[in-house]
């Protein structure tokens, strides 16, 4: 039990710190890397809860796919950090005050709150988390599961709607023209003056 608690605090400490670092560091690439660290540590927390599948999926999907894309975008965009930071110091005191007040309220209330139902018993070692999740997803939760699928479909449609445009200036390959090209189309013999 002690080991578990230690491991939990170790990972949650890193999680909180990296999340904080993510929103405070100046360099967007560093911020993205801190976010990856946050994902890894929360994946570790899932593992601690014996939810192996969720932990692995979190790392695979977020770190493997989402964050790599994100890093690409961050590196390609020319973001003027100094300009974005303008006004940061001006709003900082107010933000800190409001944030501290809210955090204090939340701590006071949530420490008094009794989360008695939220406890789960440990499962035997051969218990398959993935299998159970699959069973639940395709029986009890099939309706929300399907809606989630529709949401992903809409996300695809929306992304394509917003980005795909047939512009006259866009360059694209025309394979049939490339194949049927003749020598006379490309090569021009020129008479040069002999020196």
């Amino acid at each position: 039990m002690l080991i578990q608690t230690t491991v939990f605090y170790f990972f949650s400490g890193i999680l909180v710190l990296s999340a904080l670092a993510m929103i405070t560091v100046r360099n967007p690439v560093h911020a993205a890397l801190f976010l990856i660290l946050a994902f890894f540590t929360s994946g570790a927390l899932w593992l601690l809860l014996e939810a192996e599948f969720l932990g692995i999926v979190l790392v695979l999907v977020y770190v493997g796919a989402v964050m790599v894309l994100f890093l690409f975008v961050v590196m390609m965009l020319d973001i003027n950090i100094a300009k974005m930071r303008a006004g940061y110091a001006k709003y900082l005191p107010v933000g800190l005050l409001v944030g501290a007040a809210m955090a204090a309220e939340m701590i006071i209330i949530l420490t008094k709150t009794n989360f008695e139902h939220a406890q789960a018993n440990a499962k035997p070692a051969d218990y398959s988390n993935t299998q159970e999740l699959g069973k639940l997803l395709f029986t009890e939760y099939v309706y929300p599961f399907e809606i989630a699928g529709v949401i992903l479909l809409v996300a695809i449609i929306a992304a394509i709607t917003l980005t795909m445009r047939k512009r006259a200036v866009s360059k694209q390959q025309k394979p049939h023209e490339q194949i049927s090209v003749q020598r006379k189309d490309r090569v021009r013999l020129a008479d040069l003056d002999r020196e």
Partner: protein, 493 residues
């Protein structure tokens, strides 16, 4: 509704019967199939694809209405462990949403065509948004409520940015997206705390828990606060209204029409499910929260609307004040209050659809939107019919007799007086009188000012017919409000 016979699916006819039966049980399935089919059809139908999409979408919505109508006054359908509940309230909301979206498509098409921007995506995203609203209407579980809400919101974000070359639209879309995401986060946070305390996501189980629990946990109120904040964001109630004016102004008018109408039904049903069906026991707590929201919305909406010179912005602040009225009806926490709030929502959507419909049917020479109030000057001379419809709508929004807006306000005030919220009723009346100023100013501009510039109109027979019916309904429902009111009362029995 008889249950599905699983044994009969060993043959194709058996499969088809089961499909047909499940369509009746869950109209959402029909809409999903239709929307996906239309998506594929529009992809492969070439140059005329947007016309095909438009016609098929209208046919789908008509089909949905025909599918839902027979199920009214039939026993409730409860599926998936109460995640899906098709009761009378859900059926009414679904019916209203489908009709409203069809009207939106009809108004929007000539406008989009005029800007050579009628692309199939508008209708397809609209249909998926409709699906999201239907899911919300039947959701009796935190998960389904949230997923339905996300499905709806995602379509709306994309629709706001529909005009890709417009900077205003892009700005509005970003604002809407960021604030919407924050609101969803708030809602989810409240739901997760509620789950932590009660151990369930099902609203009916939560209500049972709340009845049986002895000492109310302060964490419950904490969770409730976040849920109310999420709901208020989606309604656009003050102080969570910041996105409303910017999004209304920045989005293309056709999309503003969409945002201003159908999603209000979804927000209403979400509030009813969460607050009434799930947490009726906490009524004393959410009543006070809603009271603050309602009072602020009424005051701020009506007063700031006076200062607006942009029509869509003015209508946005007017929406905020109407939302204040809906919340006033809602906060009494008993059935007549809910019914009056539902009645008000229906009438509000009728009026908003008409108001934006008139704007969509007007057309400037350079094909830009009719934006400024001054552009309506002399509309009574140039377009007497549209101006008259606008006049009816403005009268109705101000709550004048001879239009149904009068009854909508009256019933809300009645429910307030029944429940001893006299001061709220008085405040609501005072604010309505202040609000009458900017509604009457539109009428003054249209009828008493000289013609400034000649506006054209869209010559779409269908849209013009529908807008006339829309205007007539505002008067017609004043003469016969009882049918609609009784219906609204019945769904809460």
């Amino acid at each position: 509704m008889d249950s599905l016979d699983i044994n009969s699916i060993d043959s194709l006819p058996g499969l088809l019967t089961m499909l047909a039966k499940s369509l009746v049980v869950m109209p959402e399935i029909a809409l999903l199939i239709a929307a996906s089919t239309i998506l594929m059809v529009s992809l492969f139908s070439g140059r005329k694809s947007d016309l095909f999409t438009y016609i098929l979408s209208l046919a789908t919505l008509l089909g949905m209405v025909l599918l839902i109508l027979p199920s009214i006054n039939k026993p409730d359908v409860v599926l998936f462990g109460e995640m899906y509940v098709n009761d009378e309230l859900a059926k009414l909301i679904k019916l209203l949403v489908c009709v409203t979206v069809a009207v939106i498509f009809i108004y929007a098409r000539p406008y989009l065509l005029n800007r050579s921007n009628s692309r199939p995506e508008f209708y397809i995203l609209g249909l998926f948004a409709t699906l999201g609203m239907l899911v919300m209407a039947s959701a009796q579980n935190f998960i389904t409520i949230y997923l339905g809400l996300e499905l709806l919101s995602l379509c709306l974000y994309a629709l706001v940015a529909y005009l890709r070359d417009s900077n205003d639209a892009a700005e509005a879309a970003i604002k809407y997206f960021v604030l919407g995401a924050i609101a969803s986060g708030m809602l989810l946070y409240g739901m997760s705390i509620m789950y932590g305390i009660t151990g369930t996501l099902s609203l009916s189980e939560i209500s049972i828990y709340l009845v049986n629990v002895n000492d109310l946990n302060i964490g419950l109120i904490f969770a409730l606060t976040f849920i109310v904040v999420g709901v208020a964001f989606k309604f656009g109630a003050v102080p969570f209204h910041m996105w409303v004016p910017d999004v209304y102004q920045g989005a293309p008018t056709a999309v503003t029409l969409f945002i201003a109408t159908a999603p209000k039904f979804a927000a209403f049903v979400m509030a009813i499910r969460l607050l009434s069906y799930g947490m009726q026991e906490l009524v004393a707590d959410w009543q006070q929260m809603l009271m603050i929201l309602a009072v602020l919305s009424l005051i701020l909406g009506n007063i700031i609307a006076i200062a607006q010179s942009h029509i869509k912005r003015m209508l946005a602040y007017s929406t905020i004040s109407h939302i204040g009225f809906v919340l006033l009806g809602f906060l009494s926490g008993e059935n007549f209050g809910y019914a009056s709030a539902l009645f008000y929502t229906v009438i509000y959507v009728l009026m908003a659809a008409g108001a934006f419909g008139v704007l969509l049917l007007l057309n400037k020479d350079d094909d830009t939107d009719v934006d400024n109030l001054s552009e309506l000057k002399g509309l009574g001379q140039s377009h007497p019919r549209l101006a008259f419809i606008m006049l009816l709508i403005m009268f109705s929004m101000a709550g004048m007799p001879l239009t149904v807006g009068f009854y909508a306000k009256l019933y809300v005030l009645q429910s307030l007086v029944y429940n001893d919220f006299i001061w709220l009723a008085i405040l609501a009346v005072i604010m309505s009188i202040i609000g009458a100023f900017y509604y009457l100013r539109v009428i003054k501009l249209m009828y008493f000012d000289d013609l400034l510039q000649n506006l054209g109109t869209q010559n779409s027979l269908l849209a013009n017919t529908v807008i006339s019916v829309n205007g007539l309904l505002i008067v017609g429902l004043f003469i016969y409000p009882n049918y609609l009111l009784n219906y609204c009362v019945n769904v809460f029995q």
